[in-house]
């Protein structure tokens, strides 16, 4: 940040600078107040305290006043401290299976990227299919989506960004002016967002939601079941995305020769496929297969961690290489969120909150799904998708109890839309990366993103109401 002297009146500067202190003091005061009010009817003392802790965490997650992980740590401090759950129970929930699944998935994705396999696949697909402008757009769009089936959409966006940027530069596209440039980066962002909801691997939010569901209700969703339930949404959104990408910004170029040359050169530099790439690809393939087939019996985390051990036994990666790919902050955040969600559910607070709030508007399961999916879509544009799940899912699970709904439905209604953030750069790194290219502005992203967000909400609800009963997910 360049040096700047703030010349506003000193009292104003002081007020602004002390806002943070005031914020925390007010938060502490509000927390104290919430703990001292008399216990409402239908709620236990533990439930009241759980709600007070939840409100504090909700405010911290939404405002990002401290890192998300730190809010989660605060949650696991407060839950036992105020008698919501015993200390040993709190920490055993923190060490949830989902947390270890996420850890395994991070390491696996790190190994794929570090081996160069993902980069090779990306370049090969672009070389094979990107011969004309429209084909290049669709190659990037589908490539981002398909890669996000297998690894974190954030990692895919970060990996493909330099390639797409070089394509744009190689074609001489002018930032902010070229429609082809805009569409290139939009296709990257949208591909990652849509593909990211297809499996457990696109982001850690689905494992988080499933972990919270399992801790609160004992129910679970397996890898294949989830993908089968969500895939139609992904297919329809990919079709809608294709149409919008090709129609919204008329492409001004007719030839991608220079870009193809560039890609070919890059691919040549990557050299022959190595033993490590083959082996990492093999481990990934076996792992995904195991998740789909024996995941429910063995446990997803067990398979993920077994794969990690295999990577190291086969000497395919070193710990030093992997460390930079593991987001420990996210792991802590998820552990805390699961703990807090469980505390809300087990203390009866979640159901009580659901009855007092959204319960008043919901007229039946379909309306509840519609309301939760809409709220999630709106919230996920502004705050981290994991935070949205941490905030809404405990209430949603409570709501399911009220309408005698299967809580897995609510889990889908929150976990899936939480990943469908199309409109704002802060909603997901893929959007932020697209805007950082300077080819597309925030205004343009919002304009087209709103169409995608609304469409995705409609599509999600249509799939939930008409397709899920067909696969036995919704028995009404």
């Amino acid at each position: 940040m360049p040096l700047e002297i703030d010349k506003r009146p000193l009292w104003l500067v002081l007020a602004i600078r002390s806002a943070r202190v005031l914020f925390f003091v007010s938060l502490a005061a509000a927390f104290y107040f919430a703990l001292t009010i008399s216990v409402p009817e239908g709620l236990t003392e533990g439930g009241r305290n759980a709600i007070a802790i939840f409100i504090v965490c909700l405010i911290l997650w939404v405002t990002n006043a401290v890192p998300l992980a730190i809010t989660s740590i605060l949650a696991i401090v407060l839950v036992p401290l105020f008698g919501v759950l015993p200390s040993d129970e709190t920490y055993s929930i923190f060490g949830n299976e989902a947390v270890f699944f996420i850890l395994g998935a991070f390491i696996l994705a790190g190994a794929v990227m570090h081996s160069g396999l993902s980069n090779r696949v990306a370049l090969a697909i672009l070389k094979r299919y990107g011969h004309a402008p429209k084909r290049m757009i669709l190659s990037i769009f589908f490539l981002s989506a398909v890669l996000s089936f297998f690894m974190s959409e954030h990692a895919v966006a970060a990996m493909l960004f330099p390639i797409v940027f070089e394509i744009a530069k190689g074609l001489g596209l002018r930032p902010g002016k070229s429609n082809f440039g805009k569409v290139l980066f939009l296709s990257l962002a949208w591909g990652c967002v849509i593909g990211g909801v297809a499996t457990f691997l696109g982001g850690a939010r689905v494992p988080l939601a499933v972990g919270m569901l399992k801790e609160a209700t004992g129910e679970t969703i397996n890898f294949l079941e989830y993908t089968v339930a969500v895939f139609p949404i992904v297919i329809v959104m990919l079709c809608v995305g294709t149409v919008l990408l090709l129609k919204l910004f008329p492409i001004e170029i007719t030839d991608t020769g220079k870009a193809n040359k560039l890609i070919a050169e890059k691919l040549q530099k990557v050299g022959k496929i190595t033993y490590v790439e083959y082996a990492v690809g093999g481990v990934l393939f076996v792992t995904v297969l195991a998740w789909m087939t024996i995941g429910e019996h063995v446990g997803l985390a067990v398979i993920a961690l077994a794969a990690v051990v295999a990577l190291f036994v086969l000497k395919l990666v070193r710990w030093k290489d992997i460390e930079e790919y593991v987001n420990w902050g996210i792991i802590l955040m998820y552990g805390g969120a699961i703990t807090l969600g469980t505390a809300l559910a087990r203390s009866g607070a979640a159901e009580w909150v659901a009855t007092q709030t959204i319960g008043r508007w919901g007229t039946g399961p379909a309306a509840v799904i519609a309301i939760f999916s809409l709220m999630t879509l709106l919230l996920t544009e502004g705050i981290s998708n994991a935070a949205v799940i941490a905030i809404l899912l405990p209430i949603g699970i409570g709501m399911a109890g009220k309408y005698a709904m299967d809580p897995t439905l609510i889990t889908y209604a929150i976990a899936v839309p939480a990943g469908l953030a199309f409109s704002l750069p802060m909603s997901t790194p893929a959007n932020a990366i697209a805007v950082s290219s300077n080819y597309i502005t925030v205004k343009e992203l919002v304009k087209v993103g709103v169409i995608m967000s609304f469409t995705s909400w409609v599509v999600f609800n249509l799939v939930a109401n008409y397709y899920w009963p067909l696969i036995g997910l919704w028995g009404n």
Binding site: M1, P2, L3, E4, I5, K7, L10, V13, R17
Partner: protein
């Protein structure tokens, strides 16, 4: 001759006017006043009401002074003018100044004590001397590149430590002559300011020439300077060009005024100051300078011109009678424009705006804040508040000292 006697007036009853008259005329030291050394050409005295005065005692013109410093019967000192006497205190040259740094530099080469502040010149060069365009009255001990010395940060820190130990001063003035860079010398001073601020709770004032661009003024504040002085010295444009050819030609009067104006928006009220030497231009012109500077929120500081041997400008110093209204004007203007006068106080070598109050026909009393500011606790509080203000106002990082423009 007797008319002369008629217009002559004794100033002993008003320490404010006495300070001015003493600075103009100097003082003789009666024998035997054994403990007094006038080796530095002047002595520091505390006049009644606690007013500090630095009085010439060795220059040839002091031999004709009316004033004599004598020891009285109880071992104290008095100043007499032939008609009456007033008690004064003699400020002995502090012992620590006779010390030297670990690298062997005498402290007195690096620092000079002027009342409640110490002036440190980490480099003794002024590039105006290289080109023969130095200010005609210059007595700052600055010199050409070849003759100039640069003292290390460690040497300077040792001096400040000694000053603090001796409780000799709470304010450190870092002074630097002209250098050609766009930064006005602040790049060079930055490590000194930062080191002093890191190790000592003192107020640091920077006395430099205005940088070419305002962001260096931001930098000066950001790195820890509590006060800044860009000394215009002469407000009249023609006289400025004549007497200060270097300042006029390489910096320009407008840049002085613009830099001061900008600095007054960055630094706290009363901490941006500029010297206007009384006696180098007509008093009316000095008054105009006072008006102009105070309009911008800058405190004018008015040293009195005293010819020095070998630096004669052919300008006769003004008389006390002519100078007093200028100081009155200074006090009233600074007061009426609500500029804090407390930062510039207790200086022995010049009459501060606050001391101008003693020159009013009906002198106003000081307020409680003033006495507080002058106390040790007040100085510490000023230092603390100044640091808090900087924390609030400064965003981002000061430049690395590698940057040039």
């Amino acid at each position: 001759m007797w008319e002369d006697f008629l217009i002559w007036k004794s100033y002993l009853d008003n320490p404010g006017t006495l300070k001015i008259d003493l600075m103009l005329r100097g003082i003789r030291i009666a024998d035997p006043v054994h403990s007094i050394s006038c080796a530095d050409s002047s002595i520091d005295l505390v006049l009644p009401d606690g007013i500090l005065a630095n009085v010439p005692c060795c220059e040839p013109y002091t031999e004709a002074s009316l004033y004599v410093l004598k020891e009285n019967h109880d071992g104290g000192y008095v100043i007499g003018d032939g008609t009456a006497e007033v008690p004064v205190q003699l400020i002995e040259k502090p012992d620590f100044l006779s010390g030297q740094t670990k690298s062997g530099v005498p402290f007195s080469d690096i620092a000079e004590l002027h009342g409640s502040y110490v002036v440190i010149s980490p480099a003794s060069g002024c590039e105006f001397f290289n080109e023969g365009i130095e200010c005609s009255y210059c007595s700052g001990g600055f010199d050409t590149d070849e003759a100039s010395k640069v003292f290390s940060v460690d040497d300077v820190l040792e001096v400040v430590e000694a000053v603090k130990k001796a409780k000799a001063a709470e304010i450190v003035y870092l002074s630097i002559g002209f250098s050609k860079g766009a930064d006005g010398g602040i790049k060079f001073l930055t490590p000194y300011i930062q080191a002093i601020k890191k190790f000592f709770n003192v107020i640091v004032a920077v006395e430099a020439l205005p940088p070419k661009r305002n962001h260096w003024i931001d930098h000066t504040y950001a790195v820890g300077a509590d006060s800044v002085l860009y000394n215009l010295e002469i407000y009249d444009k023609e006289l400025f060009e004549l007497i200060c050819p270097g300042r006029a030609g390489l910096i320009g009067r407008n840049r002085y005024l613009n830099a001061l104006k900008y600095a007054a928006t960055v630094f706290p009220s009363g901490t941006v100051a500029s010297h206007l030497i009384v006696g180098l231009e007509p008093p009316g012109s000095t008054n105009k300078g006072i008006d102009c500077l105070t309009d911008m929120g800058v405190v004018p500081i008015l040293p009195i011109y005293r010819p020095r041997p070998g630096k004669a400008l052919g300008i006769d110093p003004l008389t006390t009678e002519i100078i007093i209204p200028v100081y009155r004007h200074l006090y009233k203007t600074v007061r009426d424009k609500n500029i804090n006068m407390n930062w510039v106080s207790d200086i022995s070598v010049l009459t501060t705006p606050l001391e101008g109050r003693n020159l009013l026909d009906d002198p106003e009393g000081g307020n409680i804040f003033e006495s507080f500011y002058r106390s040790k606790l007040g100085k510490k509080t000023a230092w603390g508040l100044s640091s808090i203000r900087r924390k609030l106002r400064v965003r981002g990082k000061a430049f690395t000292v590698k940057g040039d423009d």
